[in-house]
């Protein structure tokens, strides 16, 4: 990553764990490590996408980044503020800079509030603006997300799914944030409506210089939205690269499998891509395996993969991968299958 871009967010060695109910009274407390030692950075005006399957820890990582879930270890720096150390008033200030867009526009809007009140809520709780200033902002926000002024008085049930997500976007924009965390913003929407929201998000990014932390399981959407990508598997980042490197030259066998699993309408791509079927399901997250967590499903796993956990190493130009079998020349380990 080049230095001339301005760093907005830096997350180092973040870990989130949840205590498990212990069956016996004796014995030490056990935990589920939902996010295990991950690091990433986001530049101003750019998008980092976190991809992974359900249960990989993407949402927990996002929640911890905004301090909506407490991390047990790690350092989160926004601009020059260490988010782990600040309290109350300072945190309230920071919250205006980091906002959230949620997956389900049906459950993330209060059904008893009017659209304008929903959009105003962050302003009420995080700022001391006068009501006339708030109203002026709401008017502008409705315009920016493509809703009509008269729709401000309506309740959520009077909107379609896509329109509700627009309200969610307006709410996230209301405090003029630098970073918006988008947690699967389109996966609950109908296909035809997804494009509307994706286009809106990209338009707003250019207009307001927003940075996005974009969580998704859909690699097609990720490819369209991101500048950088982090692939997560069982709480770990297994591959981290810029958009072109990751999609054109995936190094981790899991990333390759994920990419090859996407059904494609492109006949040439379909014929050229050898589908890498990974059997079974991820192992039990409560007792993760000692070595590489993907080893039991990996088509090229070797002895070492079961014994030693691979570290996330930089292979070239910021392309990082956690796999014992990737060599210095950045060849995919799957080449050996051909």
């Amino acid at each position: 990553m080049s230095d001339h871009k301005k760093k907005l967010l830096k997350v180092e060695n973040l870990g989130v764990r949840f205590p498990l109910k212990n069956k016996s009274i004796i014995g030490k407390k056990s935990y589920l490590y939902a996010v295990d030692d991950i690091s990433f950075e986001i530049n101003r005006g750019e998008t980092l996408a976190i991809v992974g399957e359900s249960g990989s820890g993407k949402t927990t990582a996002a929640l911890a980044t905004a301090r909506l879930v407490q991390a047990y270890t790690g350092k989160i720096t926004l601009e020059n503020i260490n988010l782990q150390e600040i309290q109350k008033e300072e945190l309230r200030q920071v919250r205006t800079k980091v906002q959230f867009i949620f997956q389900d526009p049906y459950s993330s809007l209060n059904p008893r509030l009017r659209a304008e009140e929903i959009v105003k809520e962050p302003l009420n709780s995080l700022t001391n603006f006068s009501s006339s200033k708030k109203q002026k902002l709401v008017n502008e926000l409705f315009k920016a997300v493509g809703l009509r002024p008269e729709q401000q008085r309506l309740f959520p049930h009077q909107f379609s799914g896509g329109q509700r997500q627009r309200i969610g976007v307006a709410r996230a924009l209301s405090t003029q944030p630098d970073l918006i965390i988008c947690d699967e913003p389109v996966s609950a929407l109908d296909v035809a409506v997804q494009a509307q929201i994706l286009n809106l998000l990209r338009e707003l990014q250019t207009k307001f210089g927003l940075a996005y932390l974009f969580i998704s399981h859909d690699l097609g959407v990720v490819q369209h939205m991101c500048d950088q990508v982090a692939v997560m598997y069982m709480g770990k980042i297994v591959e981290y690269a810029d958009r072109l490197s990751l999609f054109n030259n995936p190094l981790h066998p899991y990333t390759s499998a994920l990419l090859s699993a996407i059904p494609s309408i492109d006949q040439t791509r379909r014929e050229k891509t050898e589908r890498i079927l990974i059997p079974g399901d991820p192992p039990d997250p409560i007792n993760p395996p000692i070595g590489c967590r993907f080893a039991n499903r990996c088509p090229v796993a070797k002895e070492i993969c079961y014994q030693k956990e691979p570290q996330l190493n930089e292979i070239k130009n910021g392309h990082k991968v956690a796999c014992h079998l990737v060599d210095k020349k950045a060849n995919s380990p799957l080449e050996s299958l051909k």
Partner: protein, 329 residues
């Protein structure tokens, strides 16, 4: 051409709602040959699942009914069949798998009991014979260690395994048609790939015809030979899958294809422009009106579209389109 396995002609399904009776399926025809894989594509609320339920004789009682048209399975009329005959057909001739494998399985019975139940009810197998067949079926849907897993309860299985169990139940009596209603929407992509792979293999082995219901064009391309694009209870376009994808005629089909970001063979810095389909599917009140129901969202609309329903016309090589502007596009 030999007689199709399933023939649906001018089907009209009506739902009784608070606003009155509306045709959720309006003059819809299609046919399915032995061993063929077709796909219904469209947004939610376009009648894909309703058509499937109509074929199965499972329309919500008192609310939905087949008003006119015919559904014939190997020459037998299903719209006039008795409940008893329909129950016999379901499972034996046509079976269905659903989107959410957790809610379709009974949580208080083991998966073995649930598979065996189908075999005993439809094929009159004994308890032990049904149990042995259930193990075979679990093996066929690639559940590892079927002897042990057969006594598991649904909660002990992952989402992908549950869907495999559903497929085992659906295929237990070797039906001629399997209707898969969004079978992988609730699953992760790598698991989706496993399920598609399994369905394709089973189709080759057993010759079961498949109707895949989905909104994902990629899944259609992967699974089906022919697709039917549905909009507001009507057929918008029909044709061989790759031909329609490469040369879609109906603006709705083109919208469905270009509104989703696709991963090209080689990614460049340039990003695809996502074409938006403005607005949403019309409300049920507008279904059945004598006009093009897509007109309100179409950027190529003319006066004719608003006053008369476009007929289905042949385009080329069995591609059919219901749009007034097919030639002019």
């Amino acid at each position: 051409m030999s007689e199709p396995l399933l023939n649906v002609k001018n089907l009209r399904i009506e739902l009784t709602t608070r606003d009155g009776v509306t045709p959720v399926i309006d003059d819809f025809s299609f046919s399915l040959s032995h061993g063929e894989a077709i796909s219904f594509v469209g947004e939610s609320g376009c009648g894909k699942s309703m058509t499937a339920l109509g074929i199965m004789g499972l329309l919500p009682e008192g609310v939905g009914r087949i008003a006119s048209g015919s559904i014939t399975l190997s020459g037998e009329e299903l719209t006039k069949a008795s409940d008893k005959r329909l129950r016999n057909i379901r499972g034996n001739e046509i079976s269905m798998i659903f989107q959410e494998p957790m809610t379709s399985l009974n949580p208080v019975y083991t998966i073995g009991e649930q598979i065996a139940e189908v075999l005993r009810a439809h094929q009159g197998l004994s308890r032990t014979a049904a149990w042995a067949k259930a193990i075979e079926l679990l093996d066929a849907v690639r559940i590892p260690n079927p002897h042990a897993r057969i006594s598991d309860y649904p909660f002990q299985l992952s989402g992908g395994q549950r869907q495999r169990v559903m497929i085992a139940i659906a295929l237990a009596c070797e039906p001629k048609i399997l209707i898969a209603d969004e079978p992988t929407t609730a699953l992760d992509v790598t698991v989706q790939a496993q399920i598609f792979d399994l369905l394709n293999d089973l189709r080759k082995q057993t010759g079961t015809a498949i109707i895949l219901i989905t909104h994902d064009m990629g899944a259609v391309a992967e699974m089906a030979e022919r697709m039917i694009v549905m909009y507001a209870g009507r057929k918008a376009e029909e044709g061989p899958v790759q031909q329609v994808i490469d040369n879609a005629q109906h603006p709705y089909t083109r919208g469905l294809i270009s509104c989703v970001p696709h991963i090209p063979e080689t990614l460049t810095n340039e990003r695809q422009t996502l074409k938006e389909i403005p607005g949403i599917v019309p409300s049920l009140r507008d279904f059945g009106k004598d006009r093009c129901l897509f007109a309100s969202r179409c950027d190529n609309v003319s006066e004719k579209c608003r006053i008369k329903r476009p007929p289905e016309t042949d385009y080329l090589n069995s591609q059919r389109v219901a749009c007034w502007h097919t030639e002019s596009l």
